[in-house]
Amino acid sequence: MKPVTLTINGKLVRATQGEYLLGVLRREKIDIPALCHHEAVEPYGGCRLCTIEVTKPEWDGWKDYVTSCLYPAADGLIIQTDSPQVIEIRRTILDLYLARCPEAKLVQDLAAKYGVMKTSYQTVPEPNDCILCSICTRICDTMGFKAISTVNRGHGKEVAPPLDQPPDACVGCLACALNCPTNYIKWKDVGGTREIWGKKFELIRCEQTGQPTITREFADYLIANRNINADYFKIKDSAHRTETSLGLGKIAQWTREEVK
């Protein structure tokens, strides 16, 4: 782990060689927008909002515009995080985003921060809230399920299970939906069943409270792959907590009795 020195907006900053710049910038409390970044998964470079300006003394004045989420720190880098060109890139991207996702609050708020209140382009024929950040598919990949992916190309790209059929590989863990920054992925839990990506799941019922917990498939996955005791899933988390606190109560009682 070689230490390197960077110049960020005129200030000398220490970092580790090869670490991605976005982490360094955020550590330095510099506000860098990003819509496709998620700490749990590999960086993607899709939204391009974290674009910054980099140069080096030996580059003869040539500057490059790179996404900080993927650019590795190297000794001597000179970084500008809010030059007029960088701001122009971010504004244009947010303007383009608004033409695709006019109703997405996340996009609206970020765009407003950059002074874009309304798109200057033609709104697309069928706007929706999916910003195609691919956090859902990358989380699903990282979990090891690969139940959903991006499908189609170009402007017709979207997130979907294979062949738009309920995906075999999905265990109903909701990692995709709960991490969706615009809450675009729809799912519902009704009366002990869960539905997501067109697939229906039965939820395990807590042996103590009778309330539905997680899907059988997800529990089986966690038991098999994450070394979790099968008994753990027989009752729900809140029941676990009740059990624990009751247990702690007992311990406290015993301790008091012993002290006596």
Partner: protein, 618 residues
């Protein structure tokens, strides 16, 4: 039995050469995809049938060669009689008997089958004298139209695998890299990155495994350079890959080729099998320590998979999306291992450079751009097809000498180079030498070698719209500037074509183009606005005419043109009335007809049938 030493290979070369030259006469039937589509297979069958019955002195069916593409597809099927080089075009199976009788047995020339020079109207007898071929300089295409593509013996007969033998037995990997670097060979896939430099970086990365990949994912509309090479001379590509693998220290190679190129896949597979059979692929090639294997990966036809990092993801079985290349794929490529990826044409150049040396290669072309480049010359020129010229040849030489000038004598307007993300160059640029740096300097690019010539009937706004449409649907959609930016650029261009755009829109297009170029993730987005930027740069007036006068000067943009009958010219033949599918034309015999604008769909069917040219489009 396999070949286990370079000496054995040399013996085999002598033996194959003797077979290859056994008959003084040879008949060459072009069996590239274009000629096959025109019935070349039937011609081969006709030769077989004709020669089965008839015995000719010093000739046999073995001397009828099914070769790769000559590049002159529009004149196909082509038949050449060697050694004289008699060049027959548009040959039909029924002509074969006459060719056997008169040309092969008798040594005569069959006039009607000869090629007619479109400029002079004269018949041309020999292949070498056809202007389309005389101005070319064939290196990468050296074996096309000479040897049977599916026969390793033919390739060995013309000196095949001698370059490999030389490299394996007398050079170290570093010497090979020096040789390629010295020759100045630059990547023919479009970027023009020095091949030697790429190989050296790969070799110097510490790693247990390295890969060599051949990029045969040719996606530009109308381009068929790589296709012809893979179909017509697969062994050159394999030999080039082997030399690269030896130089960088790779044990495995992949060829990524489109599923739409079935003949290329078949011929490559056959070539790989033959090499394995002869011990040219596998363990301890030619008795040395070098071991190498090649596998074919078939792509599903996504344009973006021609981009190196997307291609590598596709080979690895993932979605074909590019990744940021701040760490180059030559350091971290396929399965995160150092990978050399070169284009088909680059590899095809390698064996002959290994044989003839770097000085020879540098003597062709111009400074910093040595060698030749293959182009597919299409559009409004008299001779279209696949050509190879020395770097630095001017656009004028290509279009007027090889292409035979503009079709129907119409004026030249622009030439589009570099495929969908290249640019359009106007007449003042005709004397521009064609090489990597000159083309980039004027806002276009070399690309993989597409070249589309346009005449005054082409609307430049429409051209930009067409290419943007292609790129919008072929963008992978991963990054916002490319996915959304190109989409909006296409929408804005569409508005220009329909006359709805304002001058402010034009400025908006230029501004957005700049952001798309700077901020996109991969080369597709970074060069995507090129067709737009270059047409705005060189044909701004045409854009302004669309915007200010709501008029399309080339009479292409449907919303801005009308079809009317010129009464003085109309003979009242009623041909247009019959041709119009929308019943938009009425009139009586021998009286001027009338086009009802509200019904007219501007399809142009009437213009096509009107003999006296009585329909005005403006």
């Amino acid at each position: 039995m396999g070949i286990t030493s370079s000496k054995q290979l040399l013996e085999m070369h002598k033996e194959c050469k003797a077979t290859f030259e056994k008959y003084p006469k040879k008949v060459i039937v072009c069996c590239g995809t274009g000629c096959i589509a025109n019935g070349a297979r039937k011609i081969v069958e006709a030769f077989q049938a004709a020669l089965a019955e008839r015995k000719i002195k010093d000739f046999s069916i073995e001397a009828v060669k099914e070769t790769g593409c000559h590049g002159f597809c529009e004149q196909g099927p082509l038949v050449v009689i060697e050694p004289h080089g008699t060049f027959y075009t548009h040959v039909k199976p029924k002509d074969v008997e006459a060719i056997v009788e008169k040309s092969i047995a008798g040594g005569e020339v069959i006039e009607p089958l000869l090629y007619t020079n479109p400029v002079t109207g004269n018949k041309v007898e020999r292949y070498q004298d056809v202007s389309f071929f005389t101005h070319q300089h064939r290196i990468a295409l050296r074996n096309l139209g000479k040897i049977a593509a599916h026969d390793i013996r033919d390739y060995i007969a013309v000196g095949g695998y001698q370059g490999l033998a030389k490299v394996l037995t007398s050079m170290t990997p570093d010497q090979v890299i020096d040789l390629i670097a010295d020759s100045g060979l630059r990547g023919r896939g479009g970027g023009g990155f020095p091949a030697g430099k790429k190989w050296r970086t790969c070799r110097n990365v510490e790693s247990d495994v390295r890969y060599v990949i051949c990029n045969g994912d040719e996606g530009d509309p109308g381009a068929f350079m790589d296709r012809s090479m893979m179909e017509g001379d697969p062994h050159s590509v394999l030999e080039g890959m082997m030399i690269a693998a030896f130089a960088v220290g790779a044990k495995n190679g992949y060829i990524y080729v489109r599923e739409e190129y079935p003949l290329a896949v078949i011929h490559l597979q056959k070539a790989i099998q033959d090499c394995e059979k002869h011990g040219l692929l596998g363990d301890n090639i030619l008795g040395t320590n070098f071991s190498f294997r090649i596998r074919i990966n078939r792509g599903a036809g996504a344009f973006v998979c021609g981009e190196s990092s997307a291609l590598m993801r596709s080979v690895a079985g993932e979605v074909g999306e590019p990744r940021a290349k701040y760490i180059h794929s030559v350091i971290k490529g396929l399965w995160d291992k150092p990978t050399v990826l070169n284009n088909v044409e680059t590899y095809a150049n390698v064996p002959i450079i290994a044989m003839n040396g770097p000085e020879w290669f540098k003597s062709i072309g111009v400074k910093n751009n040595s060698g030749t480049k293959v182009f597919s010359l299409v559009g409004k020129v008299r001779n279209t097809g696949l050509i190879e010229v020395a770097m630095g040849t001017t656009l004028r030489e290509i279009i007027y000498d090889i292409g035979g000038g503009m079709l129907d004598g119409r004026p030249f307007k622009a030439v589009q180079t570099g495929g969908p993300s290249g640019g359009c160059l106007p007449a003042p640029q005709l004397d521009l030498p064609v090489d990597f740096d000159s083309l980039t300097a004027v806002g276009s690019m070399m690309g993989s070698g597409g070249m589309i010539v346009m005449d005054d009937k082409t609307c430049m706004v429409d051209v930009a719209r067409y290419f943007l449409h292609f790129l919008v649907s072929e963008s992978c959609g991963k990054c916002v500037p490319c996915r959304e930016g190109l989409y909006q650029l296409h929408e804005l261009t569409e508005r220009v074509c329909t006359g709805e755009a304002t001058e402010a829109d034009l400025e908006k297009m230029e501004k957005l183009s700049e952001v798309v170029i700077t901020a996109s993730l991969c080369g597709l987005g970074k060069s995507g606005p090129n067709p737009l930027m270059s047409t705005i740069k060189y044909f701004r007036d045409e854009y302004l005419t669309h915007i200010r006068e709501k008029r399309c000067p080339a009479a292409v943009c449907k919303k801005l043109i009308t079809y009317t009958v010129i009464e003085e010219k109309c003979t009242g033949c009623m041909a247009c009335i019959t041709a119009c599918a929308y019943n938009a034309i009425t009139g009586e015999r021998k009286k001027p007809h009338f086009i009802h604008q509200e019904k007219c769909e501007k399809c142009g069917a009437c213009v096509a049938v009107c003999k006296p040219d009585a329909i005005l489009v403006e």
